[in-house]
Symmetry: C2
Subunit: 418 residues, 2 copies
């Protein structure tokens, strides 16, 4: 049993935010407040890990319990997030040295990092670096990504809500185009996120249990785009049902391996910045088949739609934040708080932990048996996996017709001389 | 007092559908069912007015009361809508003659047409033609359009819900980009509907009461796009607040009067089919100022989002359908069921009626005093007008994580020899 010495904690949000990442923050902060014996103050990084690097620490103790509770209902990242990748400390340890100085100056004994694969990798490296420098700290990863591409977890918090948004949007827009197709729009294309994994596009299939209804065609990054087959399928769908709803992953690629909507710009991680597969497909269909098309690009709307968040997603996001604190207090280090599925129906799940080293930098694509043999839809196995993730609603409070989303004081800790 | 002779009624949905057009259908059908003394069967046109022209009439009496009630919660057009404009009967009366034959064959004494400006014009012409042919019928218009561009009504059913969707989406995506702006996206652009009137774009301002918060810039079709001023405003907004949220009407035009995102295609009414002002602006900002941009195009998602419909919009849509039937039974003809505002806060309104001739083919733009002098935001007067329209939620029932939207038998009436 580790000797109890009360120390401070640091929490940071990383990468693209979600409808429920603040629910994880809520779990972390509420658990810290309940464990004053072990944890003194909880500092949140202003703009993620940059807050630690620049010693811009938010003192969360200035926020009321009510404000902290409302983190559960507020989308975006309450303390700011960032896209910043630490180098490998074996090549360049300057960032790690900075972090260590800040951790020492503010007596930080607990490091909670809330992000995707890159962030779990970062947490792991920080744990290693601190250990090799004999600095005692518990580094715990908290999963988050709408892409659902982390391994060793039932699903990634954030994904459940974007899946629900995508299913509902497909259902609603599908009813719209079905009403109009006699004389107007024949094809509706919804573009959703997903560079390398088609989880979000797959979730659109939850709109209807029957393939005769929208979405008729799903384009996955895992399946090479075949123009002729796609256009023929659009045409045969319209002949059968009068209209065709397509849900396309932003990362849909051609046989050369190029994104259909390559814009050429890259973000800080070297990922190509995408957007525009929907207008590309609309132009293609119009030019080659002559059908009237409408298209939507959901972009940030899909991952910030807290108003229609999945209850199970909110619950797990919160539980994983709380669990991370408990793991830290137990003396765990270099692990990610995780979940495992116990049963599909009724959906049962349990909290667990996995070594950070085993999740870092692995992208979980859709398993082959989750995609139908024609490459355009999901199988029963996939449906069985996805169904529980969108269950339940957890509406925010509304005032004057819009949700009440909290704002935070974000009072900074006085910088110390390092 | 008109002598009571029980006759059948015809109802059709016209033009782009909305989240609440079926709530109007619900009002019509429930009112007809309560007034059996006057109204026999209610036939709905399969795909709008085409259903009457082709004698494809849906016998709504086969639908249960529960199914009809659930029309209130189901987006899209339950009986199909269409974009089909009747010619002026003075130029070509062939369509009118067809209608008259169908009306006579099925003893239709009540004509309810649920649509926008074009449809009110059509209703008026049908009323005139029937009168000049000594056919006794009550033609009543029921307003509907997300564009909110009908005159002589407080607001158009459908608009309240798209306004609520737009305000909430702007709020949520604004929190997302605010979290990311330190190292990533600086500009978020949301493209919304509105060819000639900026009502939907204006409603995004309900996301926040303060111009320091999103949306920072609104682009209206009523205001000529000035590239330099726009780019300078984006830049100064980013300098002040760290990021910039732009909401752009699809119909934003340059000084030559061309849409920024002209695609060159036209629909059945000769309207240019738009889409793509958001990617256009994103490219412009990236090229000229170098900021990282994200963009979304809401398209059909905005007008079909029944899951987040405005309660007041649903109420008025229903009330106008019901009111149309009452007006018809009173012997009114060539009028549109309408509303007038009695007070802003608390919001009070009353049902009324206006002559079809006075609403037909008039597009109500945003009044000049609703747009701020810089052309990029709304005034207090506009806010006072818009605020009540998004009040209240009226969530559908959910099952398995998605809303329960009804399907209809749509059993066709046997065709008669004309």
């Amino acid at each position: 049993m580790k000797k109890i010495r009360r120390r401070n904690a640091f929490y940071a949000q990383s990468g693209g935010v979600t409808a429920v990442i603040n629910a994880s923050a809520c779990g972390v902060i509420e658990a810290c407040r309940k464990n004053k014996k072990h944890i003194g103050k909880l500092f949140a990084g202003q703009d993620g890990i940059l807050g630690a690097l620049n010693q811009e620490l938010i003192d969360t103790s200035f926020e009321t319990d009510i404000a902290i509770r409302n983190l559960k209902y507020t989308p975006g990242g309450a303390f700011g997030s960032c896209r910043y990748k630490l180098k490998n400390y074996k090549d360049d340890d300057s960032d790690y040295k900075k972090l260590l100085k800040v951790f020492k100056a503010h007596d930080i004994g607990y490091f909670f990092y809330n992000g995707g694969g890159d962030s779990q990798d970062t947490s792991n490296k920080i744990a290693e670096f601190c250990k090799s420098n004999n600095f005692d700290i518990q580094c715990i990863g908290i999963p988050k990504t709408v892409d659902n591409d982390l391994p060793l977890i039932d699903f990634c918090p954030g994904f459940g809500s974007v899946a629900k948004y995508t299913a509902i949007s497909t259902l609603e827009a599908g009813l719209d185009v079905a009403s109009m197709c006699a004389t107007s729009t024949k094809v509706f294309i919804l573009e959703v996120m997903g560079r390398h994994a088609g989880w979000i596009a797959a979730s659109s299939a939850l709109a209807n249990e029957n393939r005769k209804k929208p979405p008729h065609i799903i384009l996955f990054p895992e399946i090479i785009f075949n123009e002729k087959k796609f256009l023929d399928t659009v045409q045969s769908t319209i002949k059968k049902y009068g209209f065709c709803v397509v849900v396309a992953s932003e990362g849909t690629k051609n046989k050369k391996g190029n994104f259909l909507a390559e814009s050429g710009l890259k973000d800080a991680f070297g990922h190509t910045q995408l957007g525009g597969v929907a207008p590309f497909l609309a132009e293609l269909i119009k030019a080659k088949k002559g059908y009237k098309c409408h298209w939507a690009v959901a972009d940030y709307l899909q991952r910030s739609a807290r108003h229609i968040a999945s209850k199970i997603d909110v619950q797990q996001a919160y539980a994983l934040g709380e669990h991370a604190v408990k793991l830290a207090i137990k003396g765990e280090n270099a692990v990610m708080a995780s979940t495992k599925r116990l049963s599909d129906e009724p959906y049962k799940w349990a909290l667990t932990k996995v070594p950070l080293a085993s999740v870092a930098n692995i992208e979980k694509e859709l398993p082959k048996n989750f995609i139908t043999s024609d490459g355009y839809h999901i199988t029963k196995s996939c449906r069985k996996y996805l169904n529980p993730l969108i269950q339940g609603e957890d509406f925010p409070k509304f005032k004057k017709g819009i949700p009440v989303y909290s704002e935070y004081k974000n009072k900074m800790v006085k910088k110390k001389k390092l």
